[in-house]
């Protein structure tokens, strides 16, 4: 039964086109991830180069700074930068000369960014902040991160959090182990950057396929035979659901796996044990590593996709219309990003718990939405997993029950 349900899905021309489109979009996304911003290398002549071999060069240059990011190392970066900005090439009006000066800075660009964050204010970022620092300032690097949070909590965010919540945030900041370990992390970084895109594409394209599983019986007018068959109101309905769930799950892990292997293969997989605070999560109060964030993202994306596709199947079973069902994931994904422009505090707290958040774990760990559940304060990641895990489990029998009912007038 399940076998023929799969055949039904995979024999449909529309579905084949959708899956082909998914493959093409996967290729395009991988291309952008591998060739996107931050992957170019500027050689000694000031010429910007792109390509895997230049990524290797960039990696070699950065690995010169690999290791614990101690005060001495930070001071060395500040010192090196001071020498670069004193050089005539840096101050030249000639673009090529400037590019040559830039090529001297690219080995410590990652650390430079960290320094600029550490010495800026909580909600601002100044790429040239490092210019005004002296090597002695390096000692303030780690304390500054906590200080900036405290200042922000005392001023701008004064009324946004309770005292308890403020303590929670500060405590998390203080718990973070220092010094950070620095190494090449671009592969993960790009993976995280385009991860939400590929997950979103997966859900939207897959939505076309799953929308037809239940509604298709009606649009094909095959429902009468289906519902009058022996298993038509029980096992055959469950088989449909499993076909949708298993196909979605298998394709999700295939797409996500291919994407991860491609991006990490091209850009390097080092840095899994770096704290996310090194780059993607400087302000995050989740003290986790790149590798852990990758797991969060993989399973968050999985759970989010499954939930949205189950929702899509629910609408499909309920309305008997594939067209309406297809729009369900679209709305769930795009409405929150539209509403988030309104920037109302309680709304952002609500938006933090919408399923699209599961498809963008790298931003979820950076949000400062706090929830109090069972006497404990937490960010949005834990409730997201609990909520959508439970809702997805609840959707499974609901889809079947609704569909069974749809077959009786």
């Amino acid at each position: 039964m399940l076998y023929y349900e799969f055949r039904k899905i995979l024999s449909k021309t529309g579905n084949r086109i959708a899956l082909l489109a998914l493959l093409v979009l996967l290729g395009v996304t991988c291309y952008f991830a591998v060739n996107g911003y931050g992957t170019s290398y500027t050689d000694e002549q000031g010429v910007s180069r792109q390509g895997i071999s230049y990524v290797r060069k960039l990696r070699e240059a950065r690995l010169a700074w690999e290791g614990p990011l101690t005060e001495e190392k930070l001071a060395a970066v500040i010192r090196k930068h001071a020498a670069v900005i004193a050089a005539p090439e840096y101050n030249s009006r000639d673009v090529t000369e400037q590019n040559i000066a830039y090529s001297w800075t690219q080995d410590y660009q990652d650390i430079r960014q960290m320094i600029c964050r550490a010495f800026g204010e909580f909600r601002s970022y100044d790429y040239y902040k490092i210019d005004s620092l002296s090597p002695e300032d390096a000692a303030d690097f780690y304390p500054n991160r906590i200080r900036a949070l405290r200042t922000w909590l005392d001023t701008e965010a004064k009324d946004m959090y309770t005292e308890e919540e403020k303590d929670f945030l500060l405590e998390r900041y203080e718990q973070l182990e220092t010094p950070f370990y620095y190494t090449w992390y671009l592969g993960w970084d790009k993976l995280f950057e385009y991860g939400p895109t590929i997950q979103m594409i997966f859900v939207l394209v897959m939505g076309f396929v799953t929308a037809g599983i239940f509604a298709g019986e009606f649009s094909n007018r095959a429902d009468a035979v289906f519902f009058t068959s022996y298993h038509g109101r029980k096992k055959a309905v469950t088989a449909k659901l499993w076909a949708g769930v298993l196909l979605s799950a298998a394709l999700y892990w295939t797409v996500w796996g291919l994407y991860s292997v491609t991006v990490l293969g091209a850009l390097g997989a080092d840095g899994a044990s770096c704290q996310i605070q090194v780059h993607v999560g400087w302000k995050s109060f989740y003290n986790i590593t790149y590798g852990q964030l990758y797991l969060l993202m993989s399973f968050g994306g999985f759970l989010g996709s499954m939930f949205l596709l189950l929702l899509n199947m629910l609408v499909s079973a309920w309305t008997r219309s594939a067209v309406i069902a297809v729009t369900a994931p679209f709305i769930m994904i795009f409405l929150p990003s539209f509403l988030s422009n309104l920037s109302v505090p309680w709304l952002s707290k609500l938006l933090g718990l919408l399923p699209d958040q599961l498809l963008q774990m790298q931003t979820s760990v950076n949000y400062f939405n706090l929830y109090r559940i069972g006497g404990r304060i937490m960010g949005e990641v834990e409730p997201l997993f609990a909520l959508y895990g439970a809702l997805s489990l609840l959707l499974l029998p609901t889809v079947c029950a609704l569909y069974r009912r749809a077959g009786r007038g």
Binding site: K12, A224, T228, S229
Partner: protein, 295 residues
């Protein structure tokens, strides 16, 4: 096996599609005759548990079919009027899928599908996509589908719609073969489809069974007679207005009309044997809409 409808009524908002129908069926072929909108499909959908009667109940050997649930569907085969399928599956895969949801085990299903493909003459096109089959082939696939589980109750809603005369004859023979040891209910508005094979006919009008019985009984109890009379071409129109005319045949000496009436409509009218077409016209007030009465 006994299938029984007791005071079954189905209402959709204002329309009463089926009104207080009580019939009993035992093994054999039953024909459900009625014009468009008479309520045939609605009645059959209720028999197939796709629609719930507003009033009354349907029992199979004394047990409510909705309570029997799976046990009832196990012995049910249904060919819907607007029979649909999965256009991209081939005929064989389609039947294999239906066999699986009908609860046949894979090995048994394979044998049964092959057997039925031969029986309905689709074996040579079994690998062809359903959407590429001709209308008649699709219907045959529909009949094969209904037969997969060797149903004790076979409901066929206008199974001959869209079939050419040859296919119709084939189909009639097929039904005759299939009718042993089971209840076959088939609806049509084409009299010739059922007149020979049905052991009992139900004439349905506006949701009611207005007349039922074997063909002989129905012919006997219809209070009208058929007459043949020849009139000039000029008078034909006037006659059509005056009498119920079942047929017109152009001849050299004028038109020969087949008139339904208690008494001879005119002098020289010759009485003819009443046919089911005449009865259809008599009850439904319109012609039994087909051009293959010659079959």
């Amino acid at each position: 096996m006994q299938l029984r409808l007791e005071h079954v009524t189905k209402r959709f908002r204002e329309t009463v599609a089926v009104a207080d129908v009580s019939v009993t069926m035992e093994n054999g072929v039953y024909g459900l005759l009625g014009v468009n909108g008479a309520g045939k499909t609605t009645l059959m959908r209720m028999l197939c548990t796709l629609a719930v009667p507003t009033e009354g109940r349907i029992t199979c050997d004394g047990e409510d079919i909705f309570e029997m649930d799976m046990r009832y569907r196990k012995i049910l085969g249904y060919l819907p009027q607007d029979f649909g399928f999965y256009p991209d599956l081939c005929a064989e895969d389609y039947l294999m899928y239906v066999a699986s949801i009908k609860g046949l085990r894979p090995a048994a299903a394979k044998k049964r599908v092959e057997e039925l493909l031969h029986r309905v003459g689709l074996y040579s096109v079994r690998r062809r996509k359903m959407k590429k089959l001709s209308g008649g082939m699709k219907r045959r696939a529909g009949i094969a589908q209904a037969m997969l589980n060797d149903p004790k109750i076979l409901v066929l809603d206008e199974p001959t719609a869209g079939l050419d005369p040859n296919e119709r004859v084939r189909f009639r023979n097929l039904i005759s073969e299939l009718s042993q040891e089971r209840i076959v209910l088939l609806s049509t508005h084409i009299v010739s489809d059922v007149s020979y094979i049905a052991k009992r006919l139900f004439l349905m009008k506006d949701g009611r069974i207005v007349h039922q019985g074997s063909m002989e009984e129905i012919l006997e109890h219809t209070p009208v007679r058929a007459w043949l009379c020849t009139v000039s071409k000029e008078r034909t129109n006037a006659c059509l207005k005056k009498w119920k005319v079942a047929n017109i045949r152009a001849g050299s000496g004028g038109n020969e009309l087949r008139v339904l009436s208690d008494l001879p409509p005119m002098e020289g009218a010759a009485e003819a044997e009443l046919t089911l077409e005449d009865v259809f016209l008599y009850y439904f007030g319109e012609k039994a809409g087909d051009d293959d009465a010659l079959l």
